[in-house]
Symmetry: C2
Subunit: 114 residues, 2 copies
Amino acid sequence: MSDQSIQRDLKKGSAELLILSLLEAGPRHGYEISKLIETRSSGAVSFRVASLYPLLYRLEDRGLLQGRWVEKTGQRRRRYYRLTPAGRKMLVQRRLGWTAFVEAIRDITETEYA
Amino acid sequence: MSDQSIQRDLKKGSAELLILSLLEAGPRHGYEISKLIETRSSGAVSFRVASLYPLLYRLEDRGLLQGRWVEKTGQRRRRYYRLTPAGRKMLVQRRLGWTAFVEAIRDITETEYA
DNA sequence: GGACATATATCGTTTAACAATATATGTCGA
DNA sequence: TCGACATATATTGTTAAACGATATATGTCC
C-alpha cells in the first residue's frame, strides 16, 4: 500500500462530512466545493471530479442535498447544492462520529512510553 | 451510505497506523491485536478477522512486520508479529500523515459561524 | 488563436473491510 | 461428558468509494 493509496483510503470515510460541512453556511456548486477543500487544507486534501460529482449525486439521491441549476450570462451553467433538513441532521451525526473516531484512534495508538 | 459503511470507510486508511502502533512496544499476535483495538477504543473500533489477518499478511509481505509461529502446550499456536526497522520508519510516517489529515479535516469543516 | 481556468459528466479499475464460513484447541460448569 | 464459550488463525466472494482518463463546453487574457 503506497502513501498515495493510504491518503485515498483516509478520504473515504470523511468525504461526506466535508461536503455537508461546506454547505452548512449556504449553497455552493461542485467546482466551488472542490476548490474550497483544496484551499482550506492548503492542498493537503483534494477530491478529483470523478469522486466529487458522483458523491454529490448520491447525497442528493439520499435527500441530504437539493441541487438547482443556475445559468448566468458570462458563466458556465452551475449546479448549486444546499443542505436539506435531513442533511443538517446528518451533518450533526457525522461530526459526532468523526470526533469519536479520532478519539478512538488516539486511544489505540498513543505510545505506551509516554 | 449507511452509518455502518461510513464507519467501515473511516477505518480503511487508519488500519495500518493501528497495527504498527500496537506493535511498537513489542511483539503481539493477531488475536491479541484485535482485542486491544476493541478494548482500548471501548468498543468504538473493531476489525473483523477477515480484515485483520489479511492486513497482517500484507504488512509482512511489504517487510514492515516479521511473523513467527509460537507453540506452547495448553495454547493454540500463535503467530507473533514484530516491527521491522522499515516498519518503525513507516510508523513515523503514518503518525505524521494521520495528524496532518486530521488537521486538514478540521480546517475544512470547522464552522464558519465560530 | 492558443493556453489556461472554469464547470460538469462518466467508464472502468483498484482495493480494503467485511459477512460468512471453516478448522481446531482450552476452560468451565452442569 | 457434554455443551457453551473464548481463544486462534484462514479464506472466498461481495461491496463500495476514490480515482485515472477522457470528454464536452465556456470565459478570459495575451
